[in-house]
């Protein structure tokens, strides 16, 4: 069984972003693999360790630097990488529908049994690519997954809902998006980082795949959210209760 895992290069989750009228300033900002993609890679590798999967292929779309993100996936344990090169901004211009169409081309060529993605990227916060991809391929989808079991060409997926969890059953091939609690991603060790440098990465361009990646949603402007006015520190509970009652009027 083959696993395809999609990984995205995003602004590191701990960075406090600086907003400009055209977008978020991406110059000299630390970039990392999207945290949900790390969970997706981890799950893919675990499938291989459980001998369910025989090969894990990582794919990333973006500028040259996306190869670093792919190397991270390879160092975690993926077998080889596919890099689809584009200069479009990944948080605004290269959008989920285009990404899903590009990934669908890779799925056609690679024929994986399961495609694993993160549930959302922490830059554009769209949470769409997995659903798009499953729809384009007419595969079953299991989004926000917190547990995956595969037996007899069928998957049993536990997914997080607004009220708790539910379990679904779906045949393979399947598109899965990873929620936070699917697993705890491993760190790449130094020897594995060295080994990852020798693993193959196949580079393609958007033109090679013949997909129209024109942005479907146009950004008119980007602004900072309204800032809250500074609060006060109260010395004790009595003062807090008094303020909540008489100043804020919320209790």
């Amino acid at each position: 069984m083959k696993v395809l895992v999609a990984v995205k290069r995003v602004v590191d989750y701990a960075v406090k972003v600086r907003v400009t009228p055209t977008g978020v300033d991406l110059n000299n900002v630390k970039m990392s693999m999207n945290p949900f993609c790390e969970i997706a890679v981890e799950e893919s590798i675990r499938l291989k360790e459980k001998k369910i999967a025989t090969e894990v292929v990582a794919v990333s779309i973006g500028p040259k630097q996306s190869q670093e993100t792919l190397r991270t996936a390879l160092a975690m344990g993926a077998d080889r990488g596919i890099h689809i090169e584009t200069d479009l901004r990944l948080d605004q211009e290269l959008q989920p529908l285009a990404v899903a169409k590009l990934l669908a081309k890779i799925v056609e060529a690679e024929k994986p049994d399961i495609i694993v993605l993160g549930k959302q990227s922490i830059d554009s916060d769209a949470a769409q690519t997995g659903g798009f991809l499953a729809g384009l391929l007419n595969y079953p989808q299991a989004t926000f997954a917190s547990k995956l079991e595969i037996a007899d060409k069928k998957a049993l997926i536990t997914r997080e809902t607004d009220a708790g969890v539910e379990t679904l059953q779906a045949p393979l091939p399947l598109v899965l998006t990873a929620d936070l609690r699917l697993n705890q991603p491993r760190y790449a060790t130094l020897p594995n980082i060295m080994k990852a440098k020798k693993k193959p990465i196949d580079t393609k361009t958007v033109a090679d795949l013949g997909v129209d990646v024109t942005p479907r949603i146009q950004t008119v402007s980007v602004a900072e959210p309204a800032t809250r006015k500074a609060g006060i520190t109260v010395p004790d509970v009595a003062t807090l209760v008094d303020k909540l009652k008489n100043e804020a009027g919320v209790i």
Binding site: D125, Q128, A163, I217, V220, V222, A223, E224
Partner: protein, 329 residues
């Protein structure tokens, strides 16, 4: 800025007679969710006729309830078991069938696990990119939505012939549940997708108000130290008739179940009063609560980032403060 908004709204009222919106209702079996009522308000802001789709078996009462909501012109009722449990493939089949028959200009659903699951799939079928988590309707083609965990607000537009939107319930008032007199008709039959099947579910039942629509939310973080200690917050929440939430740290440590998580990857709340207890205030948590009207932080670390967004901060031991607060309220 404000004047621009007013001008834009004036423009909407002229253009809106061409708009027609389908709102995909959510209901926990018997009752429309608060988020659905907010989505109906968002649909009314877009302008044009509002149709509400109610899907699932034994939902005649929910359809009737939707028909009574102010601003709803008609209700489509898909009373079939294949739509129970909101399986993405089945809901997609239904919405696409309806769209092919009726050509709505907008399809709106409340931001939730359900809509984020099925709406992109509808997008794939119609070749349209949805707008996720819309906070405000600028005009019928232009919306505001958050990026980067709410640290940037983007104004976005598209020229797609049908606009798909998930709307953040905290951004819109709930539509009045009475005053409407819409007609209820059966939705066109949709082919069963039959790809995924429902096996089981586990939901935690609670008498407290729903986290996303509660007037007061009391949340605990890593500082609570254990699941038992959440009893302190339950008592406080009960006294305030509020809901209990949690940070990711508290969920990961197993103190409380996942569905209580507030933040970028959990629920987004905007209650009148949010009390953060033993929560440091990471970017990802703030994304889920910083639009609350009044924020109170109780933390013994005076440097915790939560104090930067708190209206009232109390630097002290939560195990001393929370019982005292419960007693004095």
């Amino acid at each position: 800025m404000f004047q621009t908004t007013l001008r834009t709204f004036a423009r909407v009222s002229n253009a809106s007679r061409f708009a027609s919106t389908l709102v995909v209702a959510e209901h926990a079996g018997q009752k429309l969710t608060g988020g659905t009522l907010s989505a109906i308000t968002a649909a009314s802001k877009i302008g044009g006729d509002v149709t509400v789709l109610v899907a699932g078996s034994n939902t005649a009462d929910v359809a009737k309830e939707a028909a009574a909501v102010q601003g709803v012109k008609s209700v489509l009722h898909a009373d079939a078991a294949q739509f129970d449990h909101a399986i993405a493939e089945e809901l997609t089949s239904l919405v696409v069938t309806i769209q092919q028959a009726s050509s709505f200009s907008h399809i709106v659903a409340p931001s939730s696990n359900i809509s984020k699951n099925f709406l992109p799939r509808v997008g794939a079928a119609l070749d349209v990119a949805p707008f996720t988590d819309v906070l405000a309707v600028v005009d019928e083609n232009t919306f505001q939505r958050p990026m980067y965990a709410g640290n940037a607000i983007a104004t976005v537009t598209s020229s797609d012939t049908v606009k798909l939107l998930t709307v953040r319930p905290t951004g819109f008032e709930k539509a009045n549940a009475t005053g409407g007199s819409a007609s209820v008709t059966a939705a066109p039959a949709a082919p069963a997708a039959g790809l995924t099947s429902f096996v089981s579910e586990e939901t935690s039942s609670s008498d407290r108000p729903d986290l996303t629509s509660a007037r007061v939310v009391v949340s605990g973080g890593r500082g609570m130290k254990s699941g038992e200690n959440f009893g302190l917050l339950n008592t406080l929440a009960d006294k305030l008739k509020g809901a209990v939430g949690a940070s990711r740290a508290a969920v990961d440590a197993g103190f409380v179940p996942n569905e209580l998580q507030v933040g970028q990857t959990g629920k987004v709340v905007a209650p009148e009063l949010y009390i953060a207890v033993g929560i440091s205030g990471a970017i990802q948590h703030l994304a889920g609560m910083k639009d609350s009207k009044t924020i109170v932080a109780i933390n013994k670390d005076a440097e915790a980032p939560i104090f930067q967004v708190a209206d009232y901060g109390l630097v002290d031991d939560l195990f001393k403060v929370v019982p005292e607060l419960t007693e004095k309220i």
